[in-house]
Symmetry: C2
Subunit: 204 residues, 2 copies
DNA sequence: GTCTATAGGCCGATAGAC
DNA sequence: GTCTATCGGCCTATAGAC
């Protein structure tokens, strides 16, 4: 028998994390497949095979649940982003993150929610700025390593172009419109290769 | 008194277009301010100061209403886009359309809906492709007028970069994050000026 | 074309037993 | 921590009077 004080063992670790995790996983799946409007305590319960009241036990309000879900997703995303930024070819790796179809589908829902959901808006803005700064740092580094003028090619602008293009391609893909994608991807990857592939030639 | 056959005057023009218009206008405003999930027949009725049942008179189902609203918005958008494409400096004008804060807020909601709303998805995909083709045509024209290689700078890729950047800037703006925007905008407008404004001195 | 009335459903959230 | 029971609210949609 443990000699630790009961309070320490019980505080909030007494919670059945399996249920909490199942609730968040179910919420994420519903949001991904049917949009944020479809996420309700009852739908979550059905998905996770538990009672809807349990959702309210773990999350006092639905707003609280959405915030918790966002933090969950955010954490995974930044772990991935930081891994990409630390790779041998950070621009290629970051571009791969941009192009991944799974992340942004949720992001899109959260951004749509943010318009009219104050608490979420602040969190998302913070995450967006942090993401941007990771891109800017790696792009700036790649540019200076290749002797490219940052006045002519501001890293911030390139970061926005890269991220924006990625999101747009994914939005198209979701809609079922993939015409011309290969051409666009080839163009962007050609620019990245110039910076990372080792050929330090001037652009344009 | 008109001599036209009654049927022609009555067919479906007998409808009180004022109510129909008011319903769509109210729906648009709610969608803009509170997201698609907030658009209900009752909320529309309250906003437009009429009875919720009237909404069902004009639109048999809510899906039908959303489709009608999309077509409405789409029509206005393309009128504007075509006007921009026909202007003296089409790239500048198209970029202004990209940067406009009002259009995309609705677009974002529709795109979010599209994920799980089949009928809407097809319509939005069609509109997205049409938009893209307008951009590509003007960019290709500007490039060839300036003797820029379309192999090195594929119009399709530039269209995606331009549109994507515009949407991302607006998304940021909605979130309240505008840091660095001026720099990004300056960069993009510098590229456009090279193609349209001519060199520093040349002003066509 | 607009109204009243109403059916039938899913929602968030709470109270209280165990 | 999980359950049963339940309240009050907003939703889509229809029927039928005028």
């Amino acid at each position: 028998m443990s000699t630790r004080p009961i309070a320490a063992r019980v505080s909030n670790a007494d919670r059945n994390l399996k249920s909490r995790t199942a609730i968040l996983a179910a919420a994420q799946q519903i949001m991904r497949e049917e949009g944020y409007a479809a996420v309700s305590s009852r739908r979550i319960a059905a998905q996770a095979e538990l009672k809807s009241q349990l959702v309210h036990y773990y999350f006092k309000t639905m707003d609280e649940l959405f915030l918790a879900l966002f933090h969950d997703v955010e954490e995974q995303f930044f772990a991935r982003l930081d891994r990409a930024a630390a790779s041998d070819r950070p621009l290629s790796a970051l571009w791969a993150v941009c192009r991944d179809v799974h992340g942004p589908r949720l992001t899109k829902e959260f951004v749509a929610m943010a318009t009219h959901h104050d608490a979420l808006r602040g969190e998302i803005a913070r995450a967006a700025e942090r993401t941007r700064s990771v891109f800017v740092a790696r792009i700036a580094h790649a540019l200076s390593a290749n002797g490219v003028s940052q006045d002519a090619w501001p890293p911030l602008a390139l970061a926005v172009l890269m991220d924006g293009a990625g999101r747009l391609l994914i939005a198209d893909h979701t809609l079922g419109a993939t015409a011309g994608h290969a051409e666009v991807i080839a163009f962007i990857e050609r620019q990245i290769a110039r910076l990372e592939g080792g050929a330090p030639d001037e652009r344009r």
